[in-house]
Amino acid sequence: MSVTTTGFAALLTRVAAIAAEREQELNKADGKLGDGDTGMTLRRVFAKAAEAVASPPADYGDFFKRAGMAASGATGSSLGSLVAFVFLAFGKSYAGRTELSAGDVAAMLGLARETMLARGGATLGDKTVVDMLAAIEEALRGAGDFAGMPKNALAAAEATLDDYRARPNRVGRARMFADRSVGLDDPGMLAVALICRDLAAPAT
């Protein structure tokens, strides 16, 4: 079981729609800690990325490079930039491939984690989107097919949100008043959890 770039483009379109629907909710979560633009950022980034691969090239190298360049032009915000960097990293790693299988997913999440840590300068445990991706990577490691993924990812995401809620943020704007961040979800983590929830929803 595997997906071509056409399948992945459809997934991106789906995620772009979810980001647009969740925009206000994410802006609100960011507004409590930061500058209130996480929702807007993600809507723009995924819309641009999905648009750029609307007629997808078959090669995943080209595919992700195009998505990454488009995402990068859409925003210079922290999370938006990190997403763009991940696409660009995928573009390098998956050049020459035309299919991705379920077995690739954990490795992709691992590459996303590494890229974000390298570029963003955070460390695991800082309560950022990276901790969320790491938890999902863990949950999906060794999975043989796509079928159970959304549900498993969602379970891991919700556990991680719960886990981190009581902890303070240690990067970005939220760092400046880490105390006030205790009890609140990090907007980047929340964004991934909401995407998992909406991807999992129809499957329930």
Partner: protein, 333 residues
């Protein structure tokens, strides 16, 4: 909040179009038109200086593109960093064969994009260095001063580094000067009214009809306290005290002072504040070499002001006084 604008999505591009139409020394370039370079850049044999960041802070950043200041800028949406591709093009626009200093404010998005851009141009043989503006003392404790955000003081780093580059210094030397300026610079802001990002449904923050916030950042980042509006003299005194408590004693002999409007605050008010700051510095025996009072780094129509001090030695003072010419700052030769 009412603004004189058209479609929110066109805000930045229309602003840049008008800016360059009004100032022929500024050239708009880049794939998306989000790079502004000096018409004379790159200058062969001169170290280049590139900056950039989100829109909404005019005259920062683009207004300081000019001779003896910065060579080019990469510009993002309002309050959002520039894209990697634009950072790459801005660096290339500044490269005159002796390398490029990336000199911009310490914000996550800006840093990630300029860093990646630096790696990309390095592959093409352009040497770059980085100095980050981190003058906002309210944004992190002194022990974590490298984590502080960059605000209005950045323009004094432009000026010093720009003068060094203009005088023929090499990349390491220009970088040293910029880092020295940043190290001796401190800023604190206070806000009275918010601003609104074009297209946003609400102002960036809200603040009571009789309140003010001390230490607020240029995007509305929370500050040190929020209380009832105080008289200008009290505000000026507190700002000055906080800056002097943070600036090493060794740099408190001679200073340049910058009283900056965050946008809506009038020159009247800035001069009332400056008057008190000057008296406070005089009382402490600190010499004001030159004051700058006006609109230098704004947050659109936000009301409030920031106060910056830079403790100078002869070298920095001479560089700050050196000739320069850009749309919003001109020192005479």
């Amino acid at each position: 909040m009412k603004k004189l604008m058209n479609a929110p999505d066109a805000y930045v591009d229309e602003m840049l179009e008008g800016l360059c139409a009004a100032h022929p020394t500024l050239v708009r370039t880049g794939e998306r038109g989000r790079v502004i370079r000096d018409a004379r850049a790159p200058k062969n044999g001169k170290v280049g200086i590139v900056s950039g960041g989100g829109s909404g802070h005019l005259p920062l950043f683009t207004g300081y593109v000019g001779r003896g200041l910065i060579d080019s800028c990469a510009i993002g949406e309002v309050f959002a960093g520039p894209a990697v591709g634009d950072c790459v093009e801005a660096i290339k626009a500044a490269e005159g064969g002796r390398g490029v200093l990336r000199l911009y404010g310490n914000y996550g998005g800006d840093r990630m994009n300029f860093d990646l851009a630096g790696e990309l141009v390095e592959e093409e043989g352009i040497r770059t260095t980085t100095v980050l503006g981190c003058d906002d003392i309210a944004s992190a404790a002194p022990e974590e001063s490298a984590k502080r955000r960059g605000v209005a003081g950045l323009i004094l780093a432009y000026k010093a580094a720009g003068a060094a580059a203009e005088q023929g210094a090499d990349l390491d030397e220009v970088t040293r000067v910029a880092a020295k300026a940043v190290e001796r610079m401190r800023t604190i802001g206070c806000a009275l009214y918010p601003c609104q990002v074009p297209g946003a449904a609400e102002p960036t923050f809200t603040i009571g009809e009789d309140e003010m916030e001390m230490g607020m950042g240029i995007h509305g980042e929370p500050g040190i306290w929020r209380r009832t509006l105080a008289p200008a003299d009290e505000v000026a005194d507190e700002m000055l005290e906080r800056l002097l408590a943070d600036l090493p004693q060794a740099h408190q002999e001679r200073v340049w002072v910058l009283v900056n409007s965050l946008g809506a605050t009038s020159l009247d008010e800035l001069f009332i504040i400056y008057r008190r700051v000057k008296a406070g510095l005089d009382r402490r025996g600190i010499t004001v070499l030159r004051p700058l009072v006006g609109h230098y780094a704004t947050s659109m129509e936000m009301a409030g002001c920031s106060l910056s001090l830079i403790g100078v030695d002869d070298e920095l003072d001479a560089l700050l006084r050196a000739p320069a010419d850009c749309p919003f700052w001109r020192n005479q030769p």
